[in-house]
Amino acid sequence: MGDTNLDVSRLTIREAGDLLASGACSAVDLTDALLRRIQDVDSNIHAYVSLDADFALQQARAADEARAQGKSGPLLGIPIGVKDLLNVAGQPCTCSSHILEGYTAPYDATVIARLREAGAVFVGRTNMDEFAMGSSTENSAYMVTRNPVDLERVPGGSSGGSAAALAAGEAIATLGTDTGGSIRQPAAFCGCVGLKPTYGRVSRYGLTAFASSLDQIGPMTHTVEDAAILLQAMAGLDTMDSTTLDVPVPDYRAALQHDLKGMRLGLPKEYFVDGMDDAVRASILQAVDTCRALGAEIVDVSLPHTEYSIAVYYIIATAEASANLARFDGVRYGRRVSPGNDPVEMYGATREAGFGAEVKRRIILGTYVLSSGYYDAYYLRAQKVRRLILQDFENAFATCDALLAPATPTPAFRVGENTGDPLKMYLSDVFTATANLAGICAMSVPSFSTSEGLPVGLQILGPALGETQILRVGHAFEQRKKAVA
């Protein structure tokens, strides 16, 4: 064994990769140190819904052997936390739902297969809102994850476990999924980096579907450079997902530069509205000034249909969810409750016992907006407004390389603050759902914290396949912020 005092709590993929490459530590050392860190802190945070130390160490040993045989790469031997709705062969995948209790993934999601090939080590499964439905991780059937910055506050959601694990220093990098902000909002609340790729950039095969036209898998990391490294390994065409784009994957790390000279960044006025938190506004405006000082030209833009985005999002997302979640009926996997000897009774009873309140609400809303007599007024009309939202972005990106905005209207709210009011909880996605509806890429990068020390997320939005632009802006901002801090 190597260094047993290895501090993994703020270690980045890049730094860990350097330690492994130089032989300063082995992947087993790293994984072991991380598992000990999790054991020390996770009883207060509840970031992980399940851990498999033996499986992790076995992968770490394989990574060390591969390195000894000459293999290298930025992810070889790097431990990664995985949101509990991505299939990792042989591991549980509960989606933080009782309905998938006892389920063992029979195959790898494409992103998992690619990261496995790159030598990553899967340490555990991070907690989430049940089936990714929520903005606080309070909808998990198993545990409430706490925000490591302030344990009385939520980590955001639905990828709250992935964000909290980073903030608590119990992950080097994690995977999240983002349907309406579920990577960016928890990244903003916990002070880490979270990137939602362009729709179709990363394969969704093996992701338990919530809303298929909106879902994307993305990296959650300590730094923008790490997000670039992780995205690089996951992105690209996959014959198992017909919506992946047949477009070459650029070298994301090569896009990282230290200034923003020659870039035009837009400020969408609809994202700086009355009622937003003053500390968030001040933080984002300071971030905008920083980008200007880095050489960017800042221009005002308008995305006039932003106010409709939550309404459109909750119609389209729940409609797709009501269809996707029909597969959980007690027949083939997961829980089965079968009181009588009748299959229809079995479906209803299984779903009653297996799903939590928020999932039930969304299935009902989605079924309703698709039902006969209401389809045109809700679902079809929402699809039309969705196009108007896309056109808003196309117009803005005709004159700008990227947009700057807050990721969320407020910093992390308190545990229990919004659980009684579903609509209020939905409105916390107001600045993030637009990117999913338009299929564009967007990232949350830690901005200046509030006077209370709460993190604020600077959201950088780019056009479809504009990951290089948003990574460049995020990296330059992050480096300058670090230099002045």
Partner: protein, 101 residues
């Protein structure tokens, strides 16, 4: 619009829609959800204010059709691993309550 909105919102019968979704609900859940869902439906109805005449619906931001891959045989998911997840099985098949008398 106000009256029409109310009429539509009251068209949401949680118990009936839950039946369509094959989802049993307890009476207290139906009562709780009915109020919450009416509030949410009322909120999403704001999209009715917009003029969308002539706007083509957008179902997907990636406009793809007829994506083909080579028709080559390859192994599927292992049968045993799939059966390990079945709540009930008999003779290598998933067992369910009798559907047809």
């Amino acid at each position: 619009m106000g009256d029409a909105e109310q009429a539509k919102a009251s068209g949401l019968d949680v118990a009936y829609v839950a039946h369509l979704a094959r989802l049993h609900l307890r009476d207290d859940e139906i009562a709780l959800f009915q109020g919450q869902m009416e509030q949410i439906v009322h909120y999403v109805e704001q999209i009715g204010k917009l003029d969308v005449d002539g706007v083509a619906p957008l179902s997907h931001t990636v406009s793809v059709s007829n994506v083909w891959r080579e028709d080559e045989p390859r192994p599927g998911i292992d049968h045993g691993k799939v059966m390990d997840n079945a709540p009930e099985q008999r003779d290598g098949l998933i067992a369910v309550p009798k559907i047809v008398e």
